[in-house]
């Protein structure tokens, strides 16, 4: 009963490097989300998806790209990492958003950009 799984859990990158964060959910949820969490800022939405093959911008999308090729997976990409992208990244999923459904979260990816 895995729920939402994020890989990797930790990563250190150099400025300019690229990487992809993977989120996988086994609950057959339609909606998936990527957030970043910074001290004192709470959770801020980067991108989200309302179904396979769809993506939409959130509050802070610049510098990130996403893809939802399979219903169970939601990938977050950093094409050219910057120190300002040092953060903890959380993935979440839910079924039928707008129907009083909670979001289910992974345990995060801690990313440091040097």
């Amino acid at each position: 009963n895995a729920g939402v799984t994020q890989t990797p859990k930790f990563r250190v990158l150099k400025t300019g490097q690229s990487m992809t964060l993977l989120c996988a959910q086994d609950m057959n949820h339609e909606y998936m989300y990527w957030y970043r969490q910074d001290p004192g800022m709470g959770l801020r939405l980067i991108h989200y998806s309302v179904g396979e093959g769809t993506t939409a911008k959130g509050e802070v999308p610049d510098g990130y790209n996403v893809s939802r090729l399979k219903k169970q997976n939601f990938l977050l990409g950093l094409e050219s990492a910057a120190p300002s992208q040092t953060s903890v990244y959380f993935c979440a999923s839910t079924t039928r958003a707008g129907r009083d459904q909670p979001q289910h979260f992974g345990d995060g990816t801690r990313l440091s950009i040097l």
Binding site: G42, L43, V50, F90, A92, A97, D100, Q103, F105, G108
Partner: protein, 112 residues
Amino acid sequence: SQQGEEDPQALSIQEGENATMNCSYKTSINNLQWYRQNSGRGLVHLILIRSNEREKHSGRLRVTLDTSKKSSSLLITASRAADTASYFCATERSYNTDKLIFGTGTRLQVFP
């Protein structure tokens, strides 16, 4: 900022005491949710209150909602050291139900 605000930012109490944290938001909502985050972990859903509800209970949790003031409170009764965590409110806006807007959180420390 789209975010709601929570207060206090941090709260320290002794075991057995009650803990109250407040959340304010900016727009009309369908529901308001409270989440808990233990250190180094993801958020876990605690309780959801709909816009037409005024109070809801779940175990030692009591949530109130005042839509006229655009505010909510979470009360944890008879707190335990294991309640030490950060608590976040999140709102589902009535005009955009695809996503939640999270508050900045309250850090609760419960001393044994």
